[in-house]
Symmetry: C2
Subunit: 166 residues, 2 copies
DNA sequence: GTGTCAATTGACACCGTGTAAAGTCAACCA
DNA sequence: TGGTTGACTTTACACGGTGTCAATTGACAC
């Protein structure tokens, strides 16, 4: 909190006039980033896609490219969530929203009959959601030094391999 | 530290007689778990595999089944690593060891000519290592409620889809 | 001018980590 | 048997971070 106050050019106590506690500050920061980076607009192409395959590709691209933009605040919230109930809940809510997007893409694939045999929609949704987790991005881009493009190409491939028929 | 001391039935200060600080305690706990759960023995079938494909399957199975056993201490070390240099280093070292196993499996695949065209050995190693991360296990098993078997089957499939030719 | 509002300063309580010192107790040994 | 050693306990404290509280300042609106 001291560091943030210093960066913001206000006193540490002033932060508590705006946010009840550290967790709420980061929750607000995450929401602010969502607005700043127009998450909803980025997901529009996915919603507009005609086929399930197109929808999957558009969703993976939108979310995969969104991760680096919000990684800072998102990561903080995740780490906070390991010890703070409220932070964990806030992040879980956020992830639930994202999972709805996954479910919609999976539903479109199922409608087209493109879903891999032996995979339920729920399983496919879980799988896509897991492949698009912040963790996998961190492993490949941050830890292994992959470019964003290489990461995205590979996740597209993985998503197709995991969900599609054939 | 208080909680641990209570569980152990000793005073909090006694812990500091055995470990210089909290981080070192958890590093020691992780090593103790490795010994308790015989990580080296579990990886033996992978090293003994004839073909690259067999080696990949054996390695994925061994590590994938190892994760739940060490998840408690491993997770603690990971979380600690977010704020503690030493913990981060300890975990990174551990991950480097694991990555060597990935590299060996990938090398066996390359030797057999089974590696997917357009994928270098280094990229394939990064990819396998990322698929076998604790994070993906947490997403599917802990967050989505998958069984260990369902997780393992899916990761086997993902690994094959990501690395193999065809 | 007065009231209001945002922010400041300074103080403090609480908790967790880590350090330090003095005391207890049992085992071992000459 | 008495003395030493070593592991552990109790008590105390320093430090840093979070969160609370009260008094004060300064600007702006009416």
């Amino acid at each position: 909190m001291s560091d943030i106050a210093k960066k913001a050019g206000v006193s540490r106590q002033a932060l508590y006039l705006h946010f009840p506690n550290r967790t709420e500050l980061f929750i607000a920061a995450t929401k602010a980033k969502d607005a700043e980076f127009h998450i909803d607009a980025r997901l529009a192409p996915s919603r507009a896609a005609k086929t399930g395959r197109e929808r999957l590709a558009a969703f993976v691209e939108a979310w995969g490219n969104y991760i680096p933009d919000i990684h800072g605040v998102a990561k903080t919230l995740i780490v906070l969530g390991e010890t703070d109930e409220d932070a964990a809940h806030a992040w879980a809510e956020r992830m639930a929203d994202m999972k709805e997007g996954c479910a919609a893409a999976v539903a479109a694939l199922a409608r087209d009959g493109d879903l891999r045999p032996g995979l339920t929609e729920a399983q496919a949704t879980d799988l896509l959601w897991s492949l698009l987790s912040v963790g996998l991005w961190e492993r490949l881009v941050r830890d292994c030094g992959w470019t964003q493009k290489a990461y995205l190409d590979e996740v597209q491939r993985l998503a197709r391999a995991a969900l599609l028929d054939g």
